[in-house]
Amino acid sequence: MLRRQLERALERAQELGASYADIRIVERRRSAVSLKNGAVERLANESERGFGIRVLVDGGWGYVGSAEITAEEIERMTERAIAIGRASARVQRKKVELAPVESFEDTYRGPLERDPEDVPLEEKLAFLGDITKALRSQPEIRVATAGLTMLKQDKIFASTEGSYIEQSHCESGAHLNALASDGHTTQWRSFDDTWQAGYEFIERLNLIERSRALASEAVQLLKAPPCPVGVTDLIMGSNQLALQIHESCGHPIELDRVLGQEASYAGTSFLTIDKRGTFRYGSPEVNLVAESLTPGGLGTFGYDDEGVPAQRTQVVEKGIFKNYLMSRETAPLFGLTSNGTVRAESWMNVPMIRMNNISLEPGDWTLDEIIKDTKRGVFVETPKSWSLDDKRLNFHFAQEIAYEIVDGSLGRMLKNPAYHDLTPHFWNACDAVAGKDEWHLWGMPSCAKGEPVQIAHVAHGAAPARFRGVKVGVDA
């Protein structure tokens, strides 16, 4: 019945002149439960369901989304999408053409062992109660927050090219924050991670043990000396490096950005099309991949929102920039087909190029070996703030915590660390990457892009790494 409705919408779009159309029905159920200082801060369920139809008519795009899934509304919205596409065609230089893709009839199910919807709320609250108790294990902790999140999504994609794909997955996440105050100043430590998994992911995170450590570090930071301003060797923990990859690799390789489609909001990219295949992005230690295949990754799926199958793309190989994230619309620029990286946040959003799992491949060091090999430097971990210019060249990152490194050993804890550089200079200064035992795929359900802004759920794998001669410290 539903399939027939979708096919009818696609037929209607073609009757009205669309050269291509696709339609998605998306249902999302989210829940969030969090405790602050032992009291419930948030306890909420949200659900949404709707459809979005995308048409290409006269070479211009039209998109309409609605939460009312009825035959009449789908027909009405299809007609509206056609009108919008025709308006787009009024300001065009050439018609949009799409790279070919096979048609698929398939199903994808994400990994799920213990369904979080089956976990009693009492159990979650009791667990969070224990966590916040651990977070408040130090008297200086003024605010202790712990939360669990869950997202379940079911999606159907159908296109005029004959694809009909059903996908569903579940995400589970945890966040912790311990804010310490001595009455004059504040410091905090936090932990965040989300995976495409069930509640089993939460159970394996050792959250109580982590909470005690975070509380202790937050309190110690109050008395720690500030990270000095200067140029030094920087060793980055995998959590901080995951964000560095996100901001200075993941975004600049989005081909729609490169082509100016985000110019007025999220910005463009220094990785202009002439750089593909030749530009030295980083040192030979730097190998970056984009893929949608790793179980558990927030960027993992069966097919993207253009019906292109999940795949793996080498982005940077031994420091040389090789490839972008591409859509069916943009890949023909290089005579290629899409590498399957188009997603929309929900039914109400236009599908666009988004990161999947963008990761730095592991090297052959250990973190211990890197530290022992460093005469003077700073080890930093956990993002606190991040800022990049609109071509993703100049960046500034601040972290929650740092340790000085003196003669191959970790020294004093340092507060308010930060570093800044230019992207290619920074990645070319990378001379050591830890191996797979210290590599972790971090879930990041918070990537903002597009107008109206869409939040994508992406992941980044990284192991600790060293960067020589980086400017550190907050210079304000």
């Binding site: 308006a87 709320l121 100016g260 991040w386 800022s387 609109d390 071509k391 601040a398």
Partner: protein, 450 residues
């Protein structure tokens, strides 16, 4: 659109079900959005969308336990299921000793926020406006990028204590980046009435700025006397706005305002308040709890005066809400959504003329706050950064990274423009009404290569 009668009827249905389920108090918020946006890049339209969404959010109260749930479907079944979920959520809670009550009803002021011309603006009309910008850019050999949004947002709030408030608000927002061969310029305009948005004027401003911005050269980072246009000031003010000027931040010791009320915290020429009824801004008569918006003086002549409250944070201090509750995908709380910064007695041209050597900054990109307690902001300039020498703009320069405490910036303001502008910050946190400002000794820590 959902419409007043249907929105309030849905809310009342939810309250009835909550009462039947034994809730002591309940609140139902029905929101709807008819949103249309046309995006353009390289002088062609590349995205064009229209969407209609609605949500019912329910809070139920049992003693000092509060449960909430939300749905995107407004059917009878969905309303009942959502209230049931909220009831279940409340049952599992421990008592929250700080929770006192949902707010009671107060008179809601009349504010005109709906303009039919904006609500009925068509894709063809947006395309016509975009074409005007594209053509204006082409006359200079430039290309145009940007977006054109028209929307209707509805909000209905009802609670079991008698609140029943509804508002429909329209807005239009046209923004463009104009790119030449080596430099970009920016302009935008925001208004509840799309007829007040002149695509020609926006294009003229951005094209003129882009023409001046061609072929920038490197400028050493350092301290500069700097003129910030309102686009940039919106990004400066957003940091204290969301970090420091809400009651929760003060109560948790995260705000620089802690212990400073009544004291001089920035220059005496700085006055900032929040006023949801000021028609220069995106006026809104009440908040998401149905509490009327009150004007709140935040900084008056440089002195820390107050912060904004929702009902929960107000009751923790035995106060009443100022009508600043918000709820979005990031959570709930209070926020100064309608900030106004007082202007001064000069103009941007006069500021430039009185500057021996300094910078003119159009706007910022991707700003963030590495040190919230000191309200340190960092971010890079974009779309028109110029060196001023001997009272004139002498040349465009590469973009620079600012690293400065907003408190220091607001302590060193030499001049403010008479004219103020409704300006959205980069992240769309707030849309305040702000002047241009000229600031002494602004620290730029590094530069870009464009």
């Amino acid at each position: 659109m959902i419409g007043r009668d249907r929105a309030l009827a849905i809310a009342q249905d939810a309250l009835t079900i909550a009462r039947q389920r034994g809730a002591d108090q309940a609140e139902a918020v029905v929101s709807g959005s008819d949103f249309s946006l046309t995006r353009f890049a390289e002088s062609v339209i590349h995205q064009n969308l229209s969407r209609r969404e609605a949500q019912l959010a329910v809070r139920v109260v049992f003693g000092k336990r509060v449960g909430s749930a939300a749905t995107g479907a407004l059917t009878t079944d969905s309303i009942r299921r959502t209230v049931e979920e909220a009831v279940q959520m409340a049952r599992f809670q421990a008592d929250n000793p700080d929770f006192v009550s949902l707010p009671g009803p107060q008179a809601i002021p009349e504010v005109e926020t709906f303009v039919e011309a904006t609500a009925s603006y068509t894709p063809e009309e947006r395309a016509r406006d975009v074409a005007m910008i594209v053509e204006r850019a082409a006359r200079e050999g430039f290309t145009a990028f940007g977006s054109h949004t028209t929307r209707v947002d509805e909000l209905a709030v009802a609670n079991s204590l008698g609140i029943a408030a509804y508002n429909a608000a329209t807005s239009g927002y046209l923004r463009t980046v104009i790119a030449g061969p080596d430099g970009t310029g920016y302009a935008d305009y925001y208004d509840r009435d799309v007829r007040n948005i002149s695509a020609g004027a926006v294009a003229d401003e951005a094209v003129e700025r882009a023409a001046r911005a061609q072929h920038p050269t490197r400028l050493e980072p350092g301290a500069y006397e700097t003129i910030f246009l309102p686009y940039a000031v919106a990004d400066i003010i957003r940091f204290p706005g969301y970090i420091a000027w809400n009651a929760q931040a003060v109560q948790e010791g995260r705000s620089f305002m802690v212990g400073k009320f009544g004291q001089q915290v920035v220059g005496a020429n700085i006055s900032i308040w929040d006023d949801g009824l000021d028609l220069r801004g995106l006026a809104m008569p009440f908040d998401v709890e149905g509490v009327p918006k009150r004007r709140v003086d935040i900084i008056k002549n440089g002195v820390a005066m107050g912060v904004v409250y929702d009902s929960y944070s107000a009751q923790r201090e035995g106060k009443t809400s100022t009508g600043h509750a918000y709820a979005n995908r990031w959570g709930r709380g209070a926020a100064p959504a309608n900030m106004v910064m007082a202007g001064g007695d000069t103009s941007v041209q006069e500021m430039i003329a009185s500057t021996e050597r300094g910078l003119l900054v159009t706007r910022f990109h991707y700003t963030h706050c590495p040190d919230p307690l000191r309200v340190v902001m960092t971010g890079t300039t974009r779309d028109g950064t110029f060196l001023i020498e001997n009272g004139k703009i002498s040349r465009p320069v590469f973009n620079l990274r600012i690293e400065a405490s907003v408190l220091d910036l607001f302590s060193n303001v030499e001049a403010l423009s008479r004219e103020t502008k409704l300006s959205r910050d980069w992240w769309d946190t707030f849309v305040p009404v702000v002047p241009a400002i000229k600031v002494r000794n602004v620290h730029f820590s590094s530069g870009t290569e464009f």
